[in-house]
């Protein structure tokens, strides 16, 4: 079984500051890793994913994440955030890319203040 731990339930930052949202996972098998973003009253949008290859993955809206197998982590980063980045961010794992359920973390609420 897989599990995901998002270490911070809330992260407040000021506009144009850098941010890191932390995610650790646990699995007995190889996993695929994802970050989804959920804006208020909206659905889940895929930010980025790690399937294989380079451990540094770039996604939409200037976000990137680094897969660290030894640390079992997949932290999300952005060098300079905007007010519009305010949203809930979910880290998720799956045993398969396309045909297996996603297991989500509890989410991190990123609040960007002016």
């Amino acid at each position: 079984a897989q599990s995901v731990t998002q270490l911070d339930s809330q992260v407040p930052v000021f506009e144009e500051a850098p941010v890191e949202l932390r995610c650790n996972y646990s699995s007995s098998v190889s996993v695929y890793l994802f970050w989804y973003v959920q804006y208020p009253n909206q659905g889940l949008q895929l930010l980025l994913k790690y399937l294989s290859g380079s451990t540094l993955v770039k996604g939409i809206n200037g976000f990137e994440a680094e897969f660290n197998k030894s640390q079992t982590s997949f932290h999300l980063r952005k060098p300079s955030v905007h007010i519009s980045d305010t949203a809930e961010y979910f880290c998720a794992v799956s045993r398969s890319v396309s045909n297996y359920k996603l297991t989500f973390g509890k989410g991190t609420l990123l609040t960007v203040n002016p």
Binding site: G43, Q45, Y100
Partner: protein, 114 residues
């Protein structure tokens, strides 16, 4: 690009009533997943279908049933509704076997049970 379509977007029901949620996957996607997201919670996997057959089952109550039809759309049927069933219900779709594809989520159906 076409996205996952869910209907209705909002649904209000009384306790003990029934509800049917519909999901139309992205064209050529053959796998459908249902997730339930309670208020302030992370999405929880309910059930999935591949080629009209149930492929995996999560924490879905016995009062709920689902199926995937020949055109790949899926319906989640919920009976004897309880207050605790109030949640956002997401459908996601994917193409099995695609090495780079992943699950794409619909906008969700917000179910309120009064």
């Amino acid at each position: 690009a076409a996205g996952v379509i869910q209907s209705p977007r909002h649904l209000i029901k009384e306790k003990r009533e029934t509800a049917t949620l519909k999901c139309y996957p992205i064209p050529r996607h053959d796998t459908v997943y249902w997730y339930q997201q309670g208020p302030g919670q992370d999405p929880q996997f309910l059930i999935s279908f591949y080629e009209k057959m149930q492929s995996d089952k999560g924490s879905i109550p016995d009062r709920f049933s689902a199926q995937q039809f020949s055109d790949y759309h899926s319906e989640l049927n919920m009976s004897s509704l309880e207050l605790g069933d109030s949640a956002l219900y997401f459908c996601a779709s994917s193409k099995q076997g695609a090495t780079t594809d992943t699950q794409y989520f619909g906008p969700g159906t917000r179910l309120t049970v009064l």
